[in-house]
Symmetry: C3
Subunit: 335 residues, 3 copies
């Protein structure tokens, strides 16, 4: 009872933060038919700035990190990416009306990670003064790539079996390379490398860090507008996607919270780190995922997976999962 | 005599501020045939940033404001928007060589408000240490919408009478909605709402506030280049527009200054607030107005109203009216 | 022996600065086939911001400068632009397999100045606490224009002699005007004027100065990506360009270092100023030069001059010449 009350209070407070405010504001703008648009050049630049900032920070901290501390969470992040896709594939296989490729692609997108949801979670943790190891966001590509690669491989294996005339083997390494070459992972990994190898503290403190919170507010505004615009895409596909998109973020987050708790007990993984791992698992990819899946599984319907993810999955991940896992962590780890 | 001397000194000092410097710099660039351009994606983003900042600030302050203090200036702002359009319409009706719709559209644009001129005025007031209630910029949409709606209604009524075959009634509510949906008013109102409902102080202080002055300098540079480019548009239309565009800003500003003075005496409206109300009235819309009028009164010639406003109205509003009303306020309110 | 050791240590340290890190990072991204791109609107804006900042700073300092101090370096800067083009033209004339116009255009681009290389050098000097007169970057247009104008004139004179039927005189003044109208020189000169005539200290300190280092990091990333992409252009043209592009920056820089040393002895030109003059001479134009040359000498092959400059000339100027001349200055001027 106390938990529900505490969670309710926390959820209402969360809705008043600018992070959620800008997301809801974007939805209101779209609902009202506003002509306001953020040019796509600005959007691309904002995504670059956010990922470069996250990468630089991660790289600078890995320099000082005990790599042995990082090993178990890293293995868990990869494992979560795999489990989420296998679970989603199993669930959609039970629903005969859902096209096989569409189900796999949706599971892949929910296994992949949203850098902006992750970024929003780091801001919330800062506001809550909940510490986390700075290398935690660097776990993102491991979960992301594992999920996307597995989804693409599952889809290709299924399609190959369906059209059994061609026997060309799947090029797994090519799929890994294509994921790493995407603009999101490229910026993140470049930031990591520059943070590791060079000394970017001055440019980080003067530029990437101070602009981060503001650019994130604009990204959330854009995501709110897009989420509203794509609600209709979801009407065209089965209501099953809606149920999956509502339940998957919480389920995936709880699995990750459990694994994170194991890492907390065994190698002292921080409370904030457990929350971030859960939010990563709860999030679905809004930047790197859609173009990767669209080009790699062309027969899957984008309105199924993008609609579920952007319209329901991401709002649930931000507005429900972030406050849920913060509250859960405060209760679990304060005892 | 003392007033003229003081005003002259103030005007020369004003020409040396970077605000005016960037506007004149843009004109010089265009006059010299420079190939320098600011990409339109950047321009749109700058306008968004400026209006969001003004909106956030206004919203945060309305939270702490006595709404009863705001009521009279709000009524006056709406009234000024209506009076300016009626006055312009009456003046252009006297000149038979000016097409009726062109005159109404020009009056509408001069009744509407330039957010960037308003922004420039707030910077000048800060430099002069002249305080104003932070909700004053929030008066902008009331004047803006009243003027645009009235101009569009007047034009539609005129055109309907001219072609008396169709009897469809004018959809007033649709015109109000279209104005609110424009990108300028959308950003401003969203900022107001976010400032009112969420707690955006951190993102405001770290991002929107520090970038404001710099983005304004770039916007003024762009406006200077455009003003020069559109001088030739004015050559094609009657010299009457030129005379109107020279005199209207000062006349409208003086009417608003008078009403603002009444608000000062009756409800203690600040000296800076009176200046901003006068500058709002003096300004003509350069962002939200032209596309609204172009789509709502398609038979009106854009070179008439945009030419007058951008080439003469806006420079007069910024370079003459801002220093004029600041000087006037310093003399009137210091006694 | 001591010098080589010191230079080696300094070179390795230089490779660890973020300035070089982002350049090399861009090359790695391109080599890895990353899909990361910085939109061209952002690129144009970044170039504008960098040049406006350099111009404003120069203008503000010229206000306080002893113009008599500046005279000799200014004459030397112009002289270096002329000498570099004449030298390059003479060298390429010896190689019969190189097309005459291609050689002249390449010499022109290496005589012109890269604002971003210059900007990188100012950051390195700040990091090394090596002072320089703030008007030194204002020497840039003198070297730049002299080189471009001379190259274009040499090419036009050659082409006119080749096709001796037309006897129209070369319009020298038009070429000077076209150079000044380019977006790079326009932004720099406008910044200079605004810094000289208005009081832009507030907007400079709040906006242009704090964003400078960060925008430069992104520009270097873009330049690294471009440099890698254009390596293949060079394979198509003679290996002579490669040799020229490797040796020219160092040779030109040493000539400028010598002239700068004379200015040091005679009028007290600072150690940092000598380094910047040498880096200006070592750099080749990557922003204003290529479009100017492409439109003014259309028969010259852009893969020759752009390939040499962007792929080899600029990396050599940044990664070799900046640390070389910093180290040289520390040895020469500390005695």
């Amino acid at each position: 009872m106390d938990f529900l009350l505490e969670f309710g209070v926390r959820l209402v407070a969360q809705l008043q933060t600018p992070t959620i405010g800008f997301l809801v504001g974007g939805m209101l703008l779209a609902a009202f038919g506003s002509k306001l648009t953020i040019p796509s050049a600005i959007y691309q630049f904002i995504v670059f700035m956010l990922l470069m900032k996250i990468g630089l920070k991660g790289g600078m901290e890995i320099r000082n990190a005990e790599l042995s501390d990082m090993l178990l969470p890293l293995i868990f992040a990869t494992l979560i990416g795999i489990v989420v896709v296998l679970l989603g594939n199993a669930v959609f296989s039970l629903i005969k009306s859902v096209k096989k490729e569409d189900g796999i692609a949706t599971a892949g997108l929910f296994g992949a990670v949203s850098a902006s949801t992750l970024a929003a979670a780091t801001v919330v943790l800062d506001e809550e003064n909940m510490v986390f190891e700075a290398w935690v966001p660097a776990l993102y590509p491991f979960m992301d790539i594992a999920a996307l690669v597995l989804a693409i491989v599952l889809a290709n294996v299924y399609l190959k079996r369906k059209n059994d005339e061609d026997e060309e083997p799947v090029n797994y390494w090519q799929i890994v390379k294509d994921s790493l070459r995407g603009s999101a992972l490229s910026a993140l990994i470049l930031g990591l490398l520059l943070g590791l190898v060079t000394n970017p503290e001055a440019v980080y403190d003067d530029f990437y860090e101070p602009l981060f919170r503001g650019f994130l507010s604009i990204l959330l505004l854009i995501m709110g507008m897009e989420a509203y615009e794509r609600l209709h895409e979801l009407k065209r596909v089965a209501h099953w996607y809606m149920i999956y998109a509502l339940l998957a973020p919480i389920t995936h987050g709880l699995i990750a919270f459990g694994l994170g708790y194991i890492a907390h007990v065994t190698v002292g993984f921080s409370a904030g780190g457990v929350v971030l791992l859960a939010v990563m698992a709860a999030s679905s990819s809004d930047i790197s995922g859609p173009p990767t899946l669209r080009s790699a599984i062309p027969s899957a319907n984008p309105s199924a997976y993008i609609g579920s993810s952007t319209s329901i999955g991401t709002p649930v991940a931000i507005a429900v999962c972030i406050p849920l896992f913060v509250a859960l962590a405060q209760i679990v780890f304060d005892n």
